[in-house]
């Protein structure tokens, strides 16, 4: 099996699993595990006929995702309790938001850290409240700490000392040094209250956040899972009248239309997502590289396309910082690496 296409092919239409031979099952399950999509696959294939061993592997993944779901929601509740005295809306982002709303994107999904969004001028208060409630700094040096505070869109990561779970407190959804700068005030102003002291982003903003997380903030590691999130949201939200028009308007407002457009083309290509033709053909081409990178994994679960991966790694730095700053940052990191070896 040359790439992860077999997984995408079955995720898009689970009935295709009936055609798989044993070695294809093995490849698909291994790739899904490596891409953190095994729990998702388990939910997609639930109730279908399959070899007993495959069912056992998927049952294991389903149990893992269920444990993860419970822990993620509990962590959100703990954050709410810690921050309640500040009178802030605790806006959940990414996986925890999908689970809290009960969205399709959350089904079987693993959630790592808790990500929340708070207004930038309340970051100090949020930090103090979390420290008081038992979170503490993950050990890091002064450069990293200063870098986070000056240039990033979030506090340096905090970990809870008893529960060993991380929280990322964001004030916007991209680094301050990135080329694209979405309107953070609008994200917060339009957040949807879930009625239990927790909020999530407005649906179109949720899609835009997932898109920016995938294309504008990183080297596409775990990208297939992020693209799957986008597929699920597009399919779920598209059932509401006027969704595509609102998504277009919102993308223009945040000045990120070309990223959204690319996401639509790629998820249509890889997961067969029905997408709006007008919005999908804004911006530049070059999709083949992205497709190649997103599917770069073989049936043993190994990363493939090393050169392409490296190119996207370089790109991840390029798009996150202006050139001079990038040079200075890499020099500092290189010197530190050098020192730690000595």
């Amino acid at each position: 099996m040359r790439d992860a296409r077999i997984l995408a092919w079955v995720l898009a239409d689970p009935t295709r699993a009936a055609q798989l031979r044993p070695h294809q099952w093995t490849a698909m399950l291994t790739i899904a595990q490596a891409e953190r999509l095994l729990g998702t696959l388990a939910h997609r294939l639930a109730g279908l006929e399959m070899p007993e061993t495959a069912a056992r592997v998927l049952d294991r993944a389903r149990r893992a995702a269920e444990t993860d779901r419970r822990q993620a929601l509990w962590e959100a509740e703990m954050a709410r309790q810690a921050l309640v005295s500040l009178g802030l809306p605790v806006i959940l982002l990414k996986g925890t938001a999908f689970l809290a709303v009960g969205m399709d994107a959350g089904r079987g999904r693993l959630v790592g850290d808790l990500d929340i969004l708070v207004p930038r001028d309340r970051m100090d208060d949020a930090e103090a409240a979390l420290l008081l409630a038992g979170w503490e700094w993950v050990k890091q040096d002064a450069y990293d700490d200063a870098y986070y505070r000056d240039h990033m869109h979030e506090l340096p990561p905090l970990i809870h000392k008893a529960r060993d779970r991380m929280i990322d407190v964001h004030h916007t959804i991209l680094p301050l040094t990135a080329r694209a700068q979405p309107d953070a005030a609008a994200l917060i102003a339009d957040a949807v209250d879930l009625g239990n002291g927790l909020s999530v982003l407005y649906p179109e903003d949720m899609v835009i956040h997932a898109v920016l997380h995938l294309f504008a903030d990183g080297d596409l590691s775990g990208g297939l899972r992020n693209l799957w999130d986008i597929d699920r949201m597009l399919r779920e939200f598209a059932e509401r009248d006027g969704f595509w028009d609102r998504l277009l308007a919102r993308s223009r407002h945040h000045k990120v239309t070309r990223y959204v457009s690319r996401a639509l083309r790629l998820t249509h290509h890889i997961f067969e997502t029905p997408v709006d033709g007008y919005l999908a053909w804004q911006g530049r081409r070059g999709d083949l590289f992205y497709t190649g990178r997103l599917l770069a994994r073989n049936g043993w679960g190994q990363e493939t396309a090393k050169l392409l991966r490296f190119a996207f790694y370089i790109r991840s730095h390029w798009i996150r910082m202006p050139p001079f700053m990038l040079g200075r940052h890499l020099f500092t990191k290189w010197r530190k690496g050098h020192q730690s070896i000595r």
Partner: protein, 287 residues
């Protein structure tokens, strides 16, 4: 480029891929009597890869990868590739298993009842289970006991026993030399040879048993037997389980049921003859 090996051990199937042929040939010899995974689909995939392209040929160094990985796992030399494969398979089970409650314990069975032995490395639990396996008990495993939460039954995981240092010579007094795998000298765990389980242990590796007695052996001390209160047994078993917290409430219920259901004793012993006599005595009294 990956050389592949597959095997079924108890309820779990494995696929091992290796960038070198040596580890795969060693696995094929050691696991010659084991069946292949049902449906030809393994539960877990393990990969033995060079830490870098160069280290495939020059002073080959084996990185342990797979479905589940430890970020700080130490690479081994290719000469210890078999050990790397075994460690990698254990790691998949320890980190990935969710149906069974895993106990880091050895186990043997008689008349459908299971003796569980747990303790720290060097306690002798592996060697004792291997010896009992040669003396009328059915060997079920020296590494993990698999407890099914819904039934409380213990399932076998009869991997080849990894014998360390003096245990090799001790075992050679009871079994023929051809039951032992190649000697690996100077591994991080000492000098190691693997012992192939008796044919019956492999033939019956699908058969579960009811836990009947739990022992906490300690080697190298004057003969002693002490009862262990359930509260202490519970805490020690949470530490001996690799997936207790991952199972959540199911794990808690499985463990409390086990602790309340069987007697537990701590035994100290100066030599294996004393240990075997103690096991016989305690089994007769409690099981």
């Amino acid at each position: 480029m990956m050389r592949a090996f597959t095997v079924q051990v108890g309820p779990l199937g494995f696929r091992v891929g290796s960038a070198w042929s040596g580890p795969v040939r060693a696995l094929e010899r050691l696991y010659a009597d084991y069946p292949k995974p049902a449906d030809d689909i393994p539960d877990f995939t393990v990969r033995l890869e060079p830490v870098s392209t160069l280290r495939r040929w020059v002073r080959p160094s084996v990185a342990i990868r797979g479905d589940f990985m430890l970020p700080d796992a130490v690479p081994t030399s290719l000469a210890h590739g078999l050990l790397a494969a075994e460690m990698a398979m254990n790691l998949q089970v320890a980190m990935g298993e969710r149906r069974f409650l895993l106990l880091h314990a050895s186990s043997v069975e008689r008349d459908g009842k299971v003796l569980l032995m747990t303790g720290e490395s060097g306690s002798g639990k592996s060697t004792l289970s291997a010896l009992l396996g040669e003396k009328g008990w059915r060997f079920m495993g020296d590494e993990f006991a698999l407890i099914e939460p819904e039934t409380g039954l213990a399932f076998p995981f009869p991997r080849p026993v990894s014998l360390k240092n003096e245990a090799v010579a001790e075992m050679l007094r009871h079994v023929a030399e051809d039951r032992l795998g190649p000697e690996m000298v100077g591994t991080p765990k000492g000098d190691i040879r693997h012992l192939k389980p008796p044919a019956e242990a492999i033939r019956r590796m699908g058969e579960s048993g009811t836990p009947a007695l739990l022992l906490f052996p300690r080697f190298g001390l004057v003969r002693d037997v002490r009862p262990v209160p359930p509260s202490e047994v519970f805490v020690r078993l949470t530490q001996a389980s690799t997936n207790y917290t991952m199972l959540g409430e199911r794990g808690f219920e499985a463990l409390t049921n086990l602790v309340q259901g069987i007697p537990a004793r701590a035994i100290d012993y100066p030599d294996t003859a004393t240990a075997l006599a103690l096991v016989d005595q305690l089994w007769a009294e409690h099981a």
